[in-house]
């Protein structure tokens, strides 16, 4: 087991280095520099332009910039944003709780609906339930997030008036010092209605962001379930006269869930990608929209630091999944 954990942890080092190198190369391949993007149609003297670049250390050879960056990043210093002039960590962690909260709720929404749907579809294979559920899953998976989000806003917020259009909480509530997790902050605050407001603001974005994982998990649950339901021990359990619920819900589902857990881990990466669009539509103040803006502004430190921190988070979640998986399934941790 220790060997397994060590192996997994050591794999993180090259993954991180690769992510850093890739981000660094890609952002520098886009034409333009932060100064030019800041100036737009305005023009400064070439000498002044060079001096401004030098101020950010952007006049040095790329490989020097890269190793310097990695060296500082290893010590926890991701540099300062060129546009806001704040340390990257400050900007990132001001926004990350919002993304985390949204991603968590989207995932809960996806899992809670996807697993029963997948089980039902497998159990009633070929029936109208199966076709409807899997058809809906395919539609959900194929739907552009942007369009889906606006559609929900138009229907639920404008037409029915049930949910707020965007934001994290009504503008009437304001917490002087909070953790950044709005559900928690509003719950512990003594402002009446704050928690309900936070929940109502979270519903649509969580549905939009959770739709693709919901579809993927449901389909995965179904196919994994089908495989398990054909196994001998399930037939035996049925032959013993166990109730359908016990056979499917306890015996089969438990085994079917192993690949599903892996998929859920992998979906965290998808969630982080989807968060960029969802955050933009719902004015959700998370790291996704911050990252997109930083790319537009060629804010190199922000893009590099942001991508690295997000990939760190995704890697960490997948590592946890791997470890949990190892605990659940002794065959995995024993494998060389």
């Amino acid at each position: 087991m220790i060997r397994f954990v060590l192996q997994r942890v050591l794999l993180i080092v090259p993954t991180f280095f690769g992510a850093a190198l890739l981000t660094f190369t890609l952002i520098h391949m886009i034409p333009g520099d932060p100064i030019q993007m800041m100036l737009g149609e305005k023009v400064v003297e070439p000498a002044r332009h060079a001096a401004m670049l030098a101020q950010y250390g952007l006049d040095r050879p790329l490989y020097v910039q890269f190793f310097d960056y990695v060296w500082h990043a290893l010590q926890g210093d991701f540099g300062k944003s060129i546009s806001t002039k704040n340390p990257i960590l400050v900007d990132f962690f001001a926004l990350f709780p919002a993304t985390l909260e949204l991603a968590f709720c989207a995932m809960v929404f996806a899992i809670v609906l996807a697993i029963p749907a997948g089980v039902l579809a497998a159990e009633k294979r070929g029936s109208i339930y199966d076709h409807t559920l899997m058809g809906a899953a395919l539609t959900g998976y194929s739907m552009p997030i942007f369009w889906w989000g606006l559609l929900l806003i138009l229907f639920f917020s404008i037409y029915l008036g049930w949910t707020p259009v965007s934001g994290r909480i009504s503008l009437d509530y304001y917490f002087d010092e909070g953790t950044g997790f709005m559900l928690y902050d509003s719950l512990v605050s003594d402002q009446e209605g704050a928690f309900a407001s936070a929940v109502s603001h979270l519903i649509l974005p969580a549905i939009v962001l959770g739709t693709i994982p919901l579809a993927v998990i449901a389909r995965m649950t179904r196919s994994s379930m089908l495989e398990v339901l054909g196994e001998d021990y399930v037939r035996t359990a049925r032959a013993k006269g166990l109730s359908g619920f016990r056979v499917v819900g306890i015996h089969a589902l438990r085994n079917a869930l192993i690949p599903v857990v892996t998929v859920i881990g992998l979906q965290v990466g998808t969630l982080m990608g989807g968060a960029i669009l969802t955050e933009n539509i719902f004015s959700w103040p998370g790291v996704g929209s911050w990252l997109v803006n930083s790319i537009y502004q060629r804010d190199y430190p922000a893009v590099q630091g942001g991508v690295l921190l997000i990939s760190g988070f995704v890697i960490l979640v997948n590592l946890t999944v791997d470890l949990v998986y190892g605990v659940l399934n002794p065959r995995i941790r024993g494998r060389r």
């Binding site: 034409p31 800041m38 100036l39 704040n86 138009l154 209605g193 407001s197 004015s283 103040p285």
Partner: protein, 531 residues
């Protein structure tokens, strides 16, 4: 249980709604388009950031709302020396800085604050110069390091600013956000506490609203400054709800989640106008979109070819297709809202037949030329590609085959400034309401070497002389006359095709009272209230 939970949530939501309307009476909610880069008025130059710092600060002079004319603000009056080099400002003595949790001012605004604010940017030895980056893009973009010689305190309420060379628009330039007056007392306290960087993060100004809090990408909160020198505001709170998507801003306004918003999508304007709860204010933007005709390349080095191309472009079609009608065709390179606009010039008529004739007379036949279209939407050009396609069709009618070309925005600008474009779309949004800010983009400053911002690379001694004389004169009538002549010369020489001035829309609830459209494109909430 489930039903009960839903009912409880619904009840709470309902209560929340009622609470919101009761409380909203004194809170103005502005759905803004993006997050500010920060709250240091000297450090940034994007319109979004300047909108966010504007409620907090004042300048020596300011622009009268709804006009482009400077008016006294922190300086109640000023004298200018005969040679136009020395400006003496007499400051108000009743202006208080904001109080915050960590700072309580002990004195009113005075000359020390003004000197500190300018020397922070001007003097590299100032202890605050390098704080938060040490770059002052707008200050530098307006060429202030070269223009300003010194800023000195004469007495408690008098400041003398000396220039290196006469600069007629100087009073208008001082009304810009980079010239905001910061508190020296606050700066000294922060320095003593070892928290210098707070000067741009927890701003202390003299403006109509004090800064309360900022949640990145979510909300900025301000409250009315009870001691504001032009009087306390009618609204108690001002909130910027940052909403990046235009469709969502529209939805929030229609649902009453914000009272006023900006930059609607062109296609949504009609729907917003049709909503009985809303009004849509509109004003011509202080901008211009134009097409450069490179005077250093063949065949556009020939004046009659340039004039012919001016006649070949159908501007009305562009207004309809690209701006959904939200623009006016341009005949000059100056927007009509600015003083000094020459209304007497005549636009080249759209006349493909005549254009073709002129091109043939100039010996231009079977011409194939690159037309660059803008890769990004700008306030003055909403869709460069569509505009390019219209131009391509127009040019085909006069026998010119246009190849549409574009680059990444940064690359586009770099190559354009370097003079590589035969014909290119570009434009300008005014920084200040002074004609010089638009007209100095053209011409060569008395040389034959076009500077980078002269995208059409056309040089004219006569034009340069007019601009120089106007910049050095402080007589507005004389300047107006000179700028009118400069515009007429530009029309006659046709180094560019002036295309359109876009219209800016501000949709708002009918409850909003006293909002004035700013020709400079900023958003002011001083004096705005709710009924």
């Amino acid at each position: 249980m489930k039903v009960r939970l839903i009912t409880a949530t619904a009840t709470l939501a309902l209560m929340m709604g009622i609470g919101a309307s009761a409380q909203a009476a004194s809170t103005l909610r502005f759905c803004s388009e993006a997050s500010p880069e920060g709250f240091g008025p000297q450090l940034f130059d994007s319109g979004t950031t300047l909108d966010a710092v504007r409620p907090i600060y004042n300048r020596l002079t300011e622009i009268k709302f709804g006009t482009t004319d400077p008016m006294p603000s922190l300086a109640e009056k000023w004298d200018v020396s005969d040679d136009g080099l020395v400006y003496t400002f007499h400051l108000r003595n009743d202006v208080k800085f904001h109080s915050s949790k960590t700072f309580k001012p002990t004195r009113n605004m005075n000359a020390d604050d003004v000197v500190f604010s300018f020397t922070r940017m001007l003097d590299k030895a100032n202890p605050y110069h390098d704080v938060n980056g040490g770059t002052y893009p707008y200050f530098e973009g307006m060429n202030m390091p070269a223009t300003l010689k010194s800023v000195e305190k004469v007495d408690e309420h008098t400041v003398k600013i000396t220039l290196n060379n006469p600069d007629a628009p100087f009073i208008s330039e001082l009304a810009m956000e980079w010239a905001s007056i910061l508190s020296k007392e606050y700066a000294d306290k922060l320095a003593a506490d070892g928290k210098k960087e707070q000067i741009d993060l927890a701003p202390i100004g003299t403006g109509p609203f004090t800064f309360v809090s900022y949640e990145k990408d979510a909300v900025i909160r301000y409250k009315a400054n009870p001691d504001f020198f032009r009087g306390k505001q009618k609204i108690d709170n001002l909130v910027f709800a940052i909403t990046k998507d235009a469709a969502v801003r529209k939805a929030k306004l229609m649902k009453g989640e914000c009272d006023i918003t900006l930059f609607p999508a062109a296609a949504d304007v009609e729907a917003l106008k049709a909503d009985p709860k809303l009004t849509v204010m509109e004003g011509e933007g202080l901008n211009i979109a134009y097409l450069t005709l490179n005077a250093k390349m063949k065949p556009t080095d020939n004046k009659s070819v340039r004039q012919a191309i001016n006649m070949a472009i159908n501007k009305d079609a562009i207004v309809k297709a690209v701006y959904s009608g939200g623009a006016v065709p341009a005949k000059n390179l100056l927007p009509p809202t600015i003083w000094g606009y020459n209304d007497a010039t005549t636009a080249y008529p759209y006349d493909p037949a005549k254009a073709k004739e002129m091109l043939e007379a100039a010996g231009v036949k079977d011409l194939t030329i690159d037309v660059w279209y803008q890769p990004v939407a700008r306030p003055y050009n909403l869709d460069g590609k569509k505009m390019g396609e219209l131009m391509q069709a127009d040019l085909a009618k006069v026998g010119i085959k246009a190849n549409l070309v574009t680059f990444d925005w940064a690359e586009y600008l770099k190559r354009l400034h370097a003079g590589e474009a035969p014909m290119a779309q570009i434009g300008w949004t005014g920084d200040i309401g002074d004609p010089d800010n638009f007209l100095n983009l053209h011409g060569c400053g008395g040389t034959q070497t076009p500077p980078p911002q002269n995208n059409e690379k056309w040089c004219s001694d006569a034009y340069d002389a007019l601009l120089k004389q106007a910049k050095e004169s402080s007589d507005v009538a004389q300047r107006t006359d000179l700028y009118k002549k400069a515009q007429a010369l530009l029309v006659e020489e046709a180094p560019v095709v002036p295309l359109v001035h876009s219209v800016v829309y501000m949709p708002m609830s009918k409850k909003v009272v006293g909002y004035v459209m700013d020709p400079l494109g900023f958003h002011n909430f001083e004096g705005v209230s709710l009924k």
